[in-house]
Amino acid sequence: MDDKEIIARRVAQEIRPDTLVNLGIGLPSLVANHLPKEVHVFFQAENGVIGLGARPPEGMEDPDLTDAGGAFVTAVPGAASIDSAMSFGLIRGGHLDMTVLGGLQVDERGYLANWMIPGKMVPGMGGAMDLVAGAKQVIVAMVHTAKGRPKILKECTLPLTARRRVSLIVTEMAVIEPTEDGLVLRETGPGVSVDDILTATEASLIVHGDVPAMRL
């Protein structure tokens, strides 16, 4: 199982039935593949659909039905198409149960930076700031380190996405829950020890007794 699959599988376990979930582009979008068939969830694409479906068969694409990454999709029975005001009204109004987003950095306060690297990458925040400010639960899904350097830091050095403590950080090495007291290590990844995690993490982690391994 590669790192991305570990992360996607573990995040999928967090999704409750009958909720509204927004998956970011890239790694987070893989989470949908690992949802048990019996768990019914509506996925939102912030460009304007509730009830995002699978990719259409070749030749059956509709140019007017894409996900937020611009890829052709379908919609499930019971879907709704909405404009951007409704889409972000849902996100900002607290109607979105969960968002899963990629991350560049997360810090001890649970603050996320994921939208720019000054001087290098200025793509714009898109919907990320609204999602982090507005979703009931924010899950950061990212690999634990970048080129061997920790991404979970004492304090983010990159511009923040929001001043809001995210709900959970899921990497291939660990599940970490930001709390009022700091970052609590909840689970270890496959073949990874608590010490491995501490070494790969700049932020202080709170470790309570034996930390269970992810069950994937």
Binding site: D64, Y111, G126
Partner: protein, 217 residues
């Protein structure tokens, strides 16, 4: 009742230097024929307000490539490296706005609000230069309206009153921008006689639409 305009005649209404609200999300739901005509007439110095600049060779990306644009207000330009290059070189001034804030700012202009208070952007670079207002102990940014000289919309179906319907994820910013352009030009896939669209299916009332483009060929 409105007669449908030829695309080129509609493009000719738009002077250099105008501020255009342009519908679309990565090119889906953008007024492609109108964009092509604006490129063809060699427009200059436009300010574009849109969710994104799509990618080179597609939708709003064509306006960027053709050098029509001097300023962009958008939430995302990450998939168009040309926009980023022109931003870095100083050819285009880019203002990045969170997507939900962008749509609310355009809506505010359209429905006569002086501004809206949002928590999005608090504690981030988006705060810079903005007034903060506390309501019920919670801090918000005051975000101000964004008006357009023109709104350029894509629609699924119109009637000759100008009533518009949209399709699936091609709604996006179009119904909101319809409220906020001084002059509103809609580019529908098809146009039907008045009375063929149920009043309950109309998402943009025709009284908001100044000009209708001829239907797609």
């Amino acid at each position: 009742m409105k007669h449908a305009l030829k695309t080129q005649d509609a493009a000719d209404l738009i002077p250099d230097g105008a501020t255009l609200l342009v519908g679309g999300f990565m090119g889906v739901g953008s007024p492609h024929r109108l964009i092509d005509a604006i490129v063809a007439k060699g427009a200059r110095n436009l300010t574009i307000v849109a969710n994104d600049t799509a990618m080179p060779g597609r939708g709003i990306g064509k306006l960027v490539s053709a050098g029509c644009v001097s300023k962009i207000i958008a939430s995302h330009i990450g998939l168009n490296p040309e926009t980023q290059q022109k931003m870095i070189s100083g050819e285009i001034d880019v203002e990045l706005v969170p997507q939900g804030t962008l749509v609310e700012r355009i809506r505010a202009a359209g429905v006569g609000l002086g501004g809206i208070l949002t928590p999005t952007g608090i504690g981030t670079l988006v705060e810079d230069g903005k007034q903060k207002i506390t309501v019920d102990g919670k801090e918000y940014l005051l975000e101000t309206p964004i008006h357009g000289d023109f709104a350029l919309l894509a629609a699924y179906r119109a009637d000759y009153v100008g009533n518009l319907e949209y399709s699936l994820t091609a709604h996006n910013f179009n119904p909101i921008m319809a409220l906020a352009g001084k002059t509103v030009i809609a580019e529908p896939h098809s146009i039907v006689p008045v009375g063929m669209i149920s009043p309950d299916s109309v998402k943009t009332p025709g009284i908001l639409v100044d000009h209708l483009l001829e239907r797609a060929a």
